[in-house]
Amino acid sequence: MATNENRKMAFISSKGSLDMAYPPLIMANGARMMGVDVDMFFTFWGLDIITKSKKDKLHVATVGNPSMHPWFHIPTILGAIPGMTAAASWMMSKEIDKLGFPPVGEFIEMIIDAGAHVYGCKMSMDMMKLTKDDLVNGAEVLGVMEFIEMSEGAQILFI
């Protein structure tokens, strides 16, 4: 266990759907609980996870989603009915909550409190017209070259 104390991990989070927000958050938090240094870089849709106005409104796709189980397989034609995305997302949030995991907004706060460094990708933010004030407290803005520099020696995961 002592070897974890010099370990660094860097997570690049590029997806903003509810199902794809959790893997980097769970792993980053797990790494922090084990004493591993963590940098998280949120880019493209991943920015939603650290955007104040979006973090608690993530959805899971019901259109064109071949993985819509275990509850039921939703054919795209049904998944396109208004309300289906919201219903499926609500169900998924409930299942996640039952397992003791926090909602995305609370989770990212917890991870920042746990000492992970959280960054928004400058390019994506410019594209989406976001500023640092739109991001959760504790998030900084970073360009790709700075990220490449700071992640030297880290195990990098792209999600």
Binding site: E5, N29, R32, G35, G100, D113
Partner: protein, 100 residues
Amino acid sequence: MSVLDNIERDAEGYLKTPIDWNKEVALAIAVEIGVEMNDLAWKVIDFARSEFEKNGEPPTLRQITKSGGIPTKDLYELFPKGPAGKIAKIAGLGKPTGCI
């Protein structure tokens, strides 16, 4: 002669039997792993122990924060660099296996 001499622990320092635990053992382990046991740290350990005794399972760090009332930042300050393992070792509980 340390109070830890007669306590069986695994290769990573976790207590093999939770019943071998008492506050002296907890303090000795804390000293060994470099954790300062102030009042707040004891509050965490007492909470972890009582949850374990109530539920048969140690609490997750999130439960310690939400039900135990100790903020995440404080947990990471009290038990730096790997709070999950440090709390489990000091509280005489097994290696944490949860994902939160």
